[in-house]
Symmetry: C2
Subunit: 146 residues, 2 copies
DNA sequence: CCGCAATTAATCGCGCACGACTATTTTGTA
DNA sequence: TACAAAATAGTCGTGCGCGATTAATTGCGG
């Protein structure tokens, strides 16, 4: 193992961390227009795909724990994006459902990926280039999430 | 532009965000042993390379603003890792210098990249695989940071 | 059917990130 | 030289992330 590769890991982490932050910064104004944050958008994405999920299921999808999700979803409930209710069959679970407002946001948010793709292309990042990272990121996530 | 690629962007952001989080989670216990956080480690890395930098310079290296760095570095000063002092030549600047303790941590932290590389390899992520992302991440950071 | 382990959310405290803003100091220029 | 513009840190408020812990509920082996 060369010291080159050692350095690479640590710098790789920094690059991953920085690229994620900067990319989310580009997203932020679009979400701000809808009155939501990036993380709230992630929760909505999960619910748009399948509604009425227990917090547990959202947790597994997003790799976020209840200590992050519970307050997050409470804020979303306060904004009338979702509703929280106990599961009758299993009183331990809290079921999260979309409100009309939460469902309606889907159409408005649909345009965001287009905008993002355009922004990236304008800044010289080709889709194909970005795409080369996807399988590695998936491998990394799969390897680190257990 | 296929809807496939549109989806890819948004999911690409999520993957980037998640992979960064999970990777830092693996780092965290090592840093905890030294009594520091990942972000504090980043500041130390910059200062280990060149000591006595104005906050401004650290900001540029880490892509973090003063609203993040000022409190962060104050905490590090409270822990006696660094010292803060005004620049005599330019009273606007705050110069951040390593203390003896901050300098000493370098040797202890030196082992961490080894551990990380081992952990990743154990989990089936080869250095070469990770390395393929580096140029793309650099391109992304360069493109998004202005 | 009892009790104990596992599951599921929730709570708490702290440290980032970051948008918006302010205060101070320097610089450049008319 | 005056003074507007730029540079530099700092402050404030909010929303994550997450380690640690707790409370409530369910499931399961004996």
């Amino acid at each position: 193992m060369s010291s080159e590769n050692l350095k690479l890991n640590r710098q790789g982490c920094f690059r991953l961390y920085t690229a994620a932050r900067l990319l989310i910064q580009v997203y932020r104004p679009y979400f701000a227009q809808l009155g939501i944050t990036y993380t709230q958008y992630l929760v909505l994405m999960v619910l748009w795909e399948q509604d009425a999920l227990p917090l547990n299921a959202i947790s597994q999808r997003l790799y976020l724990e209840s200590n992050t999700l519970t307050p997050l979803i409470k804020r979303m409930a306060a904004m009338k994006l979702v509703a929280r209710k106990r599961n009758k069959n299993d009183a331990r679970q809290t079921i999260v459902t979309l409100t009309e407002h939460g469902r309606a946001l889907r159409e408005q948010a649909a345009a965001i990926p287009d905008c993002m793709a355009t922004v990236l292309r304008q800044r010289g990042v080709a889709d194909e280039e970005f795409a080369t990272m996807i399988p590695v990121l998936d491998h990394l996530i799969e390897a680190l999430s257990k």
